[in-house]
Symmetry: C2
Subunit: 196 residues, 2 copies
């Protein structure tokens, strides 16, 4: 029987395509079909290679699972000044999942839509989304979501001898020193803005 060889790059491309389409790992048989193999064994060997290379791991029950290097939706590049990669390079670049990158504690993280421009100079504009982690201890200059006088706002967090204060990032607003108790909603871990 004649054999069939695919370049590693092409194999990765087809696997990524499958993962994006089906959002699950292919079975041995499916992977074989994907690569044009007639034997499941060849697919199984390729999986073991992927494991060695850190592109796949085994979860509970010994089932395969992709790593974010493989599944991530975007290719990670350097600075703008570096320019763009050639098509040949592209396939080899690692990918990244924004979810995994931005969210460390999914069970405690919420998304809020920003209203108001009090954090304008910090690059947080009305309509932006902020990822807020609840229950985290805020540090100086963290952006926090806090309730002051029954209203929720975004501010820089600070603390000095007189106690806690909240700073806006916009000269049109002033520092706030909460008189009574300060209700802390959480710490802003990331800002996301989508155009269009």
């Amino acid at each position: 029987m004649s054999q069939h060889r695919l370049s590693p790059v092409e194999k990765m491309r087809r696997l990524r395509e499958f993962l994006r389409r089906e959002q699950r790992f292919p079975s041995h048989a499916e992977l074989a079909a994907l690569y044009g193999y007639t034997s499941k064994n060849a697919a199984a060997r390729w999986l073991r290679r992927l494991e060695q290379l850190g592109y796949a791991v085994r979860g509970a029950g010994g089932k395969w699972r992709q790593t974010s290097r493989l599944l991530g939706r975007t290719r990670l590049l350097g600075a703008v000044t570096a320019g763009f990669p050639s098509p040949a390079e592209e396939e080899l670049v690692d990918t990244l999942s924004l979810d995994e990158y931005l969210i460390e504690r999914p069970e405690a993280t919420f998304m809020l839509t920003v209203t108001g421009d009090s954090m304008r100079d910090a690059g947080i504009l009305p309509g932006d989304l902020v990822l807020v982690e609840r229950g985290a201890q805020p540090h100086r200059n963290d952006v926090v979501v806090a309730q002051v006088d029954r209203e929720w706002t975004l501010k820089y967090f600070g603390r000095d001898r007189q106690g806690v204060y909240l700073d806006p990032a916009n000269p049109a607003y002033q520092r706030i020193r909460p008189r009574e108790s300060l209700v802390m909603g959480g710490v802003v871990r990331a800002v996301v803005r989508k155009y269009r």
Copy 2:
């Protein structure tokens, strides 16, 4: 035999936990174990319910796949002013995958790190990440990545009788009118900033 009932909320919680941990859909047997059932059939019935409710769909080969309502890593909330939900509400709120939300064409999307402050007033700061879609047609006031005089920059895109121009979002910089050809890297679809 005594029967076993779990609230729908608890079922969803356990399923989400499994998905986060294993990044795949449980088999009927695994789902039964997760819910304390002794029969696979009860699990299969629950899956059909999930399908009706739009939390799961079937992919190629009839295999189950989660929707982003189920898998997404963050809970989606309203404006900051709306406050925070009570723990009871939280379990019922839809979740969102940032990857799916931000990236429409994964195969054409790249991530770049921003250097320079020429887009400061647009809330794009040094160190931010921008998601760039290659090959898209830019419209007026889109933020684009372009090569001017051998250097890559982020600018607002514009066009008038004299041709194409690029505007910064910072009074310290000036409008650029490319003399020769303009190399367009892509259109910025989203901005992401991670703290810490």
